[in-house]
């Protein structure tokens, strides 16, 4: 028997909160002004930002429908590693610092909340069958970069998932591809840190059924100076707050494909 799916016409979707409660609040207020019916988060509440527990009341008060990211899974299971999938030792060094801070400053109650999140969500947006995941439909921490994700793979993932539209996050950089089969893949981006383009804003995505699928990437401007100051006050590495202040990634660069890496400063 088929599960009855929730139906929407216009939704907001974001990923990667990374403890950035200030950007989260700005995103939620912006989405409300744009008349969306529901707001979804594709996981990774924790990360490089300060005061992890501040994001949970916002997610709950605003009725955000979330799924689990690799960070959430690790926190909930009490793992010693964020499971981001890095292999380079410099990436892993900085990932460990942010994870240890987040683990130590996330309450048991919030870890349990993360542990109860589903790994996928399915819904209908008009006639379009959507599948939401964190990394990819098959692996929670798989990186789907725009320049490293072939259309042949996307066709197969969508077919295997029985979906018309795949939504993912995890990489930190948004993109959208309409496939020749009529299917779509959208990396909705993250709101926790800027996307390595020298701008301090972050991005989320609004999807609308007109009934053709409309994908709109929305910039969010927030009080990044306060966030960066709080990060410094919490003793987080200056490389993290530098990214918030400049819009250029300073860490976790080693797994970027060459096209994405070449667009950044470092």
């Amino acid at each position: 028997m088929h599960e009855r799916l929730a139906e929407y016409r216009r939704i907001a979707v974001f990923g990667g909160v990374y403890n950035n409660a200030l950007a989260l609040l700005s995103t939620l207020e912006d989405a409300r002004r744009r008349d969306v019916e529901a707001v979804f988060c594709l996981g990774d509440m924790g990360g490089v930002g300060p005061h992890p527990d501040r994001v949970f009341p916002l997610l709950k008060e605003h009725g955000v429908l979330a799924i689990q990211g690799n960070y959430d899974e690790s926190l909930a299971q009490g793992r010693t590693d964020c499971g981001c999938g890095y292999t380079d030792p410099r990436d892993n060094h900085f990932a460990r610092l942010s994870y240890e801070y987040t683990f130590a400053n996330t309450s048991t109650e919030n870890k349990q909340w993360l542990g109860a999140l589903p790994r996928h969500r399915r819904l209908l947006l008009g006639p379009h069958r959507l599948l939401m995941c964190h990394g990819s439909p098959r692996v929670i921490n798989e990186f789907l970069w725009e320049s490293a994700t072939p259309s042949g793979l996307l066709r197969r993932l969508a077919r295997d998932a029985d979906a018309d539209v795949l939504l993912c996050t995890h990489t930190g950089i948004k993109w959208h591809r309409a496939l020749d089969t009529g299917q779509h893949a959208v990396n909705v981006g993250v709101i926790g840190r800027p996307e390595n383009d020298g701008s301090t804003n972050v991005w989320y995505t609004i999807l609308t059924s007109r009934p053709d699928l409309s994908v709109e990437f929305v910039p969010v401007h927030y009080d990044f100076e306060t966030l960066a100051r709080e990060m410094d006050q919490e003793g987080l590495p200056p490389e993290f707050s530098e990214t918030v202040r400049t819009g250029w990634w300073t860490t976790c660069l080693e797994n970027l494909p060459s096209k994405e890496r070449s667009r950044g400063k470092f």
Binding site: P89, N255, P257, S258, S262
Partner: protein, 301 residues
């Protein structure tokens, strides 16, 4: 030095049928062993004993590579790698890279010695025109020219670094790949990554990319009777972390489980194309112990 054919490349071959296996989980990576073991260098640690003499594993024809790439695209491959031997010895390597880049992000592993300004120009043009990333991995085993050349041959350091700089000047971001054959931690505590990064920055490369690979007891470093994995070793071990659970290699003679063992009968999974190779891979070889112990992958990640 013995000829490559006389080296103990087939350590453990007879036990392949009784070995523990890695389940096939998904098809992520296609490796194209384009030049087999044909190479213009003869590195002391080469995992498949490549060299300029008659190769024990033959190059494959361009059409065989194209067929594999077409099939791989249809099967949803995520990334494609060209290796050898030295891929730039193959007369069709540049058009093949262009063909692969229309299907998926593509990486070529090279010793760099055949990349002159003209080849670098063509690679830059391919990268610019492609929707997907082109990665060029250039092997350099030590930041010290003398130490490097002891492993890779006289004068090779300068040629490889020339390739790295030519690629860099054209906006490509080559990945310098080193094996731990020359591992040494500096007095100031810098490890291999830091040493290579600092070195590349000192040469004007603002976005240094480095990959470090372990040394395998294989090819010219093969030892007869090396340890092999047992079911007991793998209790509690996540076999999904082994690259053979999601990679396949097209080389002369068929489709193999992983690039380390391409050409070896025990690792051959199909002679009828890629899809027929989507089955458990035997962890029969002493090299499988290295993947098990180090968690290494031959991919860029």
């Amino acid at each position: 030095m013995p000829s490559p054919m006389s080296l103990p490349l087939r350590t453990g071959e007879k036990d392949a049928g009784h070995a523990p296996v890695a389940p096939f989980l998904r098809f992520s990576t296609l490796w194209v062993q384009i030049t087999g073991t044909w190479c213009n260098l003869e590195c002391t640690h080469c995992i498949n004993a490549s060299g300029p003499a008659e190769p024990w594993l033959k190059p494959i024809k361009a059409e065989v590579a194209r067929d594999a790439i077409r099939e791989a695209e249809e099967l949803g491959v995520k990334e494609i790698y060209f290796t050898g031997g030295e891929p730039f010895l193959h007369g069709d390597i540049l058009p093949l890279l262009g063909f692969a880049l229309r299907a998926a992000p593509t990486t070529v592993l090279t010793n760099g010695t055949l990349i002159d300004a003209s080849v670098a120009d063509e690679l830059a043009a391919l990268a610019s025109a492609a929707p997907y990333s082109l990665e060029v991995r250039v092997s350099v085993d030590d930041t010290d020219p003398e130490r490097n050349d002891r492993v890779r041959g006289a004068g090779i350091f300068d040629k490889a670094m020339s390739a790295v700089l030519l690629l860099h000047q054209r906006g490509l971001l080559p990945i310098v790949t080193a094996t731990e054959i020359a591992r040494r931690d500096d007095a100031d505590g810098r490890g291999m990554y830091e040493r290579f990064r600092d070195f590349l920055v000192s040469r004007g490369i603002e976005k240094p990319r480095v990959k470090i690979m372990p040394v395998f007891a294989l090819g010219r470093l093969a030892r007869a009777g090396g340890p092999v994995l047992s079911e007991e070793d793998l209790v509690g071990f996540d076999r999904a972390t082994l690259q053979c659970s999601e990679s396949r290699v097209v080389a002369d003679g068929g489709v193999y489980a992983c690039p380390i063992l391409a050409g070896l009968a025990g690792a051959r999974l199909s002679d009828r194309g890629l899809e027929a190779s989507f089955r458990d891979a035997p962890l029969y070889h002493s090299s499988c112990v290295t993947c098990y112990q180090t968690g290494m992958t031959c991919t860029n990640g």
